[in-house]
């Protein structure tokens, strides 16, 4: 799987848009120190995947300006992992799936005392 | 208007509604209705507890306590395959409605030495 730098993401996505690829999804993986965002596109029935690293505390770029359909999954990541997206349209501010009095960022992991990944409760 | 024939046809046929529970329908031979336990052979090996995806078993080997919650059970049959003594079985008859949900509890004298079943890593 190719790795793409954060500042080349929009160019890469624009290329895919130009050759008429279909947006499939974004998968966020928590690597404890940072996030792995895996973008999936469908180009003539072939799955095109690439990986982008995202810092945990800095906002990330939204691709909803190019692929409008990405707003749902970006909002979902915002809800579950607390990774903010810039220029997200429409932005549910982390309340697409979660309610105001519910838990925050339920999918995050943290390193426990025994050196093993444990889950935030 | 394409429905007219079907609709009139239905009028002169017997209704297809099944009159459950007034008329009992025989279950299919391989229906997964409910889990039946035959505790006579049990050796408290906890294979069922380990395999159960729903957490329906609770076994305390030292105290000789075997608990089974039939209302957590999803009748997947994983425990039946895991059991080395074949004390568990899936019955094709559906679980009957009850007024009170009750956990089934057995007290079993544990065998002196218990050996976990070894073998291939099959689910």
């Amino acid at each position: 799987m190719n790795e793409v730098q954060k500042d080349q993401l929009l160019d890469e996505v624009q290329n895919l848009w130009d050759n008429r690829s279909r947006f499939v999804t974004i998968t966020c993986v928590d690597l404890v120190d940072e996030f792995d965002l895996i973008y999936s596109f469908d180009h003539n029935m072939e799955l095109v995947n690439f990986r982008v690293k995202a810092d945990k505390d800095r906002p990330f770029i939204s691709i909803s300006g190019i692929y409008a359909a990405s707003f749902l999954v970006e909002n979902e990541i915002q809800d579950q992992f607390g990774l903010k997206f810039e220029n997200l349209e429409p932005d549910f501010k982390g309340f697409l799936l979660l309610s105001q009095d519910g838990p925050r960022t339920p999918m995050l992991r943290k390193v426990g005392e025994r050196g093993k990944q444990e889950d935030v409760v | 208007m394409q429905m007219l024939a079907t609709v009139l046809n239905n009028l002169f046929k017997r209704p297809v509604t099944r009159e459950y529970p007034y008329r009992y329908r025989e279950p299919f031979r391989s229906s997964k209705g409910r889990l039946v336990l035959d505790m006579r052979e049990c050796i408290m090996c906890t294979a069922c507890e380990k395999r159960c995806p729903a957490g329906a078993f609770e076994i305390k080997r030292k105290e000789g306590l075997f608990k089974f919650d039939p209302y957590s059970c999803v009748v997947c049959g994983a425990c039946v395959e895991a059991c080395p003594k074949k004390c568990l079985d899936v019955d094709s008859d559906w679980r009957k409605p009850v007024g009170e949900m009750r956990t089934e509890i057995w007290h079993i004298e544990p065998p002196a030495k218990v050996k976990s079943p070894a073998g291939a890593e099959t689910p």
Binding site: - | Q2, V7, L8, N10, L11, K13, P15, V16, T17
Partner: protein, 280 residues
């Protein structure tokens, strides 16, 4: 007809309407291949509703629901005593307007849209009844429904097209497919339950009873097309009723604009054509 008969008719109408509604449910079920509820199921439903805690959104709603029932009974009385047919049409319209107002008196958007549609249904269906009154006048020389019994020949013979128009609005009045728009017996609708969304308990039961009375009224109007001998008229009404149930099962629900266009286009067209043909 005698006063006693009319009073008996008014008291019997809800029972007759309820039985007809039960029959409808049974036949509909059989058409769909189901077994269906017992014929007296509508009575069970209404009795159960009377036993419920009675709540209402506001006093206006209660008033309008009673008005719906009373005006419906009034319309039936006018019909049974064979009074002026035009006055009967007005009473019927008042009753339906009351229902729409009961829907408007709440704050629920579903109920508002249902009431909007109810008003459009009235607009679509009442003109045909006015044409029927006119036909009555042409045939017997007066608007009195009693004139039909002296006519010597059934109204259907001279006005078959108006009969067809009345069958068309029968679908609207019975709230069946393709015109089950404002509120239908099947709650699966884009506007939940339409007019009756906010009715509950006793008041829902009352509106249900009023609807049964309406059913009897509308079948009585069909009966008027063949009053002598009377049993032909009753058979005619029952046949029309069965035809409606079958039509309900072979059509999808259509949209409000289509309903108004059909009711005005076909209803007006057929009625006018018939009247022109008769007067020529």
């Amino acid at each position: 007809m005698s006063f006693a008969f009319s009073v008996a008719g008014i008291l019997a109408a809800p029972f007759l309407g309820g039985l007809l509604a039960g029959l409808d449910r049974k036949i509909t079920a059989r058409l769909q291949g189901r077994k269906g509820p017992p014929i007296i199921q509508p009575f069970y439903d209404v009795i159960k509703l009377f036993g419920k805690e009675s709540t209402y959104t506001n006093r206006h709603q209660v008033f309008y629901i009673y008005a719906y029932l009373l005006w419906m009974a009034m319309a039936l009385l006018l019909l049974l005593t064979l009074q002026d047919f035009l006055v009967f049409v007005f009473a019927l319209t008042f009753a339906e307007i009351s229902l729409a107002l009961a829907g408007f008196s709440t704050r629920s958007p579903y109920s508002h849209i249902g009431s909007n549609r109810e008003i459009l249904q009235i607009l679509a269906s009442e003109p045909v009844l006015v044409f029927l009154a006119f036909a009555l006048y042409l045939a017997s020389g007066s608007f009195m429904a009693g004139g039909l019994f002296l006519l010597g020949e059934p109204l259907l013979r001279n006005f078959p097209l108006i009969f067809a128009a009345v069958l068309l609005i029968l679908t609207i009045k019975m709230r069946k497919s393709p015109f089950d728009l404002s509120s239908s017996a099947h709650a699966h609708q884009e506007i939940v339950r339409g007019v009756t969304t906010e009715f509950s308990g006793r008041y829902l039961a009352l509106s249900e009873i009023a609807h049964w009375v309406e059913l009897v009224i509308i079948l009585f109007v069909v009966f008027l097309f063949w009053v002598d001998p009377w049993w032909v008229g009753i058979l005619l009404a029952l046949a029309a009723y069965l035809a409606e149930i079958v039509i309900d099962n072979i059509f999808a629900r259509l949209k409000i604009s289509w309903m108004v266009a059909t009711a005005w286009g076909w209803g007006f067209g057929l009625s006018l054509l018939n009247i022109l043909y008769f007067t020529m």
